[in-house]
């Protein structure tokens, strides 16, 4: 079985992203630090298979977000993401 058949997408990471950012992040737009492509977080490709969550850019495969849960800690690497535009629920 190829790793491509096993991959999921950013929708599957919606729960853990809510732990980190409180509100929904799957509809947020992310800009890849590798190639500059922008798209909804839901369209990132998810790998990791139990070790953690690796969300990669569908254009260039850069790991845009990496999340690992260790004992008592949720660690996230944001170095692959340049911008995040998050739909705002707070009225001005």
């Amino acid at each position: 079985m190829q790793t491509e058949e096993l991959r999921l997408d950013g929708n599957a990471a919606g729960g853990v992203l809510r732990e980190l950012f409180v509100q929904d992040m799957t509809a947020a737009l992310g800009t890849c630090a590798g190639c500059g492509a922008t798209g909804p977080v839901a369209t990132l490709l998810e790998y990791g298979h139990g070790m953690g969550i690796v969300l990669r850019c569908p254009t260039c495969d850069t790991p845009v977000l990496r999340i690992v849960r260790t004992t008592g800690l949720l660690r996230v690497d944001l170095s692959g993401i340049r911008f995040l535009s998050i739909p705002s629920t707070i009225d001005e």
Binding site: T3, E4, L45, H49, M51, R56, D61, P63, V68, T71
Partner: protein
Amino acid sequence: MADKPFIARGFHGRRAAAPPGRLPPGQYETRDFPVLSAGPTPHTSLTAWDFTIRGADDASPSVRWSWDELQALPHETPTVDIHCVTKWSKFDTKWEGVSVDTLLDAARAAGVANGAFVLAYCDGGYTTNLPLADVTGGKAWVAFGYDGAPLAPEHGGPARLLVPHLYFWKSAKWVRGLTLLPNDEPGFWEQLGYHDRGDPWREQRYRGDP
């Protein structure tokens, strides 16, 4: 999350009994070969493929083997148990490869700057760090055969590192080389909190585990 977990009535997970003493703590035996990877399967042709051992600083010489040169080195055929940190273990897996000792001996002879640690690097950008002592002394291979056939791409082919006495993420898939380092440098998962050594018998999953 700190509250007492809710136990699902009658849920046991995918676990089966295994001979005592053979499973590290927290592991279960699987007969499948689950795929674990942090990214898509790279496709490097054997003519473009090579394996390099280099030193930490750029001034150090490096040694490089083409696919054919690697194949010409003495082969070994270890049969080993493997243990994945996601809790499955697989017994009696049969591999074919070249001992990392053979490669490091050549590197030493070529004057590659030595170090107490290695960082394995791979196609697709994956890396993992290991103490040098864990890849020497007949404990580690660059493996290109599995179960009598060429190693399949989803399991790391054309070649992967095989370090069976450590958790399997250390056995980097699609490996292309080793960098010898004076100081330990965290790899892909280790940066995120996985253990720098990863001994399954001591359950060294995360940094800070004893």
